[in-house]
Amino acid sequence: MALSEQEILEGLAEIVNEETGLEPEEVQMDKSFTEDLDIDSLSMMTIVVNAEDKFGVRIPDDEVKNLTHVRDAVTYIANNQG
């Protein structure tokens, strides 16, 4: 059964917390990964790989640069989950 956007957001927030120590509630839809959450490209790659494992999606490297905001990642995962 497909996960809701809210469930994906919560799962993503856990991954971000694990990687960066940011509190899960700081990970909100309108936040930019780089500007607001201060996540660098190396951390972003780890978050992407962990998200692939958690949600059963494949996020190609070319796609990662389009995921500037949390909403972009949540939407991509929602639309591509297996």
Binding site: E18, E19, T20, G21, L42, M45, T46, V49
Partner: protein
């Protein structure tokens, strides 16, 4: 004591101390345990010991887990070697009172003998089992030997340089020596210096055992590290970090810093004799000791204490004894010698740094810790080894040396003095 020559550029003093070791999570805890003669060597309880049928089943593991001290993210982003360095450097920095210094005048010299062996082999396993995309993106900065130096430099905002001497078991001492030279030469006013090592991993254990360097006393781990004893059978692997905050004397005095001791000199040499064995007559080691004393502006007869390298190997302890006699001659009888590895095991690239820390505390507290497990002294070891309990230093100015020798024929001696 001989006067310091007027040509001496800048005196360098120890104003902060930090350590995380098999006997304590901090420098004061470590010092208390060392004075009490407590061993930090224990059986290894990890599954990998049986899985790999390791011939040696004990080591001196850290007393306090880094996970109890650092954040989850710091643990995740640093190899254990970097974690230990961060813990000890932060302690030393706080102990020094967080000196105000321009970032361009603050440097780091943090040695490591082996580097991030846990990261290297963990990520190799990730690559083999899960493929390249799952390899952690921070693998390279975590496994590189200068990762700990870089982590400390980032943490403290040190911009005068972040160096990592790599010289096997002399790396930590070389870190102290390099820092001394950087302050003297004017490249920095304050240095965070030392060594770190996290190599209690099945591969180094198997490899050191393969060269019969390790003690095999699996039935009595706390008794296994026994420098100078006739029944010594090899060293005991340890881990941890030791750090000094070193400061130009005038910088320390201007801010009213507490001064533990003076780091007065360093001597370095190489044997060019054998890749692992020290030259048996100790000529290179003796030269390092002589140069350290001369570099400090002292006479050999000013030295009253030696914190020895003394790893508890049959050949190494004897070679160092010969080197001490060669360097000090008849004055050897006046040297109170101790081997603190009897309690901590051998911290490899952190050993010289930890032992420099212990030597500074010896001079500051004026108490020499005893060597434990010395039940029957090898008759060929004709040194005055402190045993049975701490021995007081005499009144007045006292100087000491700390020896470290590494694979590759590396010899480093540090000379420290009481500061008054």
């Amino acid at each position: 004591m001989s006067p310091t020559p007027t040509t001496s550029p800048r005196r360098v003093v120890v104003t902060g101390i930090g350590a995380t070791t098999p006997v304590g999570g901090t420098a004061p805890e470590t010092w208390e345990a060392i004075l009490a003669g407590r061993s930090g060597v224990r059986p290894l309880t990890q599954e990998w010991v049986a899985e790999h049928e390791l011939p040696v089943t004990f080591a001196g593991q850290l007393h306090t887990s880094p996970a109890d001290v650092l954040t989850k993210v710091e643990v995740r982003r640093n190899d254990p070697a970097g974690q230990y360095a961060l813990i000890a450097a932060r302690e030393a920095w706080a102990d020094a009172g967080r000196p105000e210094v321009e970032p361009e005048r603050l440097g780091v010299a943090m040695g490591s003998g082996i580097g991030g062996v846990w990261t290297l082999l963990d990520q190799w396993e990730v690559l083999r089992t899960r493929g390249p995309r799952r390899v952690f993106p921070l693998t390279v900065p975590m496994l590189m030997p200068n990762g700990p130096a870089a982590a400390v430099s980032l943490d403290l905002g040190a911009r005068a340089g972040a160096h990592c001497p790599v010289s096997a078991c002399a790396s930590g001492a070389e870190g102290m020596g390099l820092a001394l030279q950087m302050i003297r030469s004017g490249r920095a006013d304050v240095m965070v210096a030392g060594g770190t090592e996290a190599a209690i991993h099945p591969l180094p254990i198997a490899a050191f055992a393969a060269m019969t360097a390790l003690s095999g006393r699996n039935d009595a781990p706390e008794r296994a590290s026994r420098p100078y004893d006739v029944d010594r059978d090899g060293f005991v692997l340890g881990e941890g970090a030791g750090v000094f905050v070193l400061e130009a004397e005038e910088h320390a005095l201007a801010r009213g810093a507490t001064i533990y001791a003076e780091l007065a000199g360093v001597g370095m040499s190489s044997d060019a004799y054998h890749i692992t064995a020290g030259e048996p007559e100790g000529a290179g080691a003796a030269r390092a000791m002589e140069e350290a004393v001369s570099d400090a502006g002292l006479a050999m007869t000013d030295i009253l204490h030696v914190n020895a390298h003394a790893t508890s190997t049959p050949v190494g302890d004897l070679a160092e004894t010969r080197a001490i006699h060669r360097a000090f001659g008849a004055h050897t009888a006046n040297l109170a010698v101790t081997a603190t590895k009897s309690m901590t095991g051998h911290l490899l690239g952190a050993a010289g740094a930890l032992e420099a820390v212990l030597t500074a505390l010896t001079l500051h507290d004026r108490r020499i810790p005893a060597t434990i497990n010395l039940d029957n002294r090898d008759p060929e070891i004709d040194l005055d080894v402190v045993t049975g309990g701490p021995r007081s230093l005499p009144e007045g100015d006292v100087a000491a040396i700390n020896n470290s020798f590494g694979f590759g024929g590396v010899n480093v001696a540090l000379a420290l003095k009481t500061y008054r």
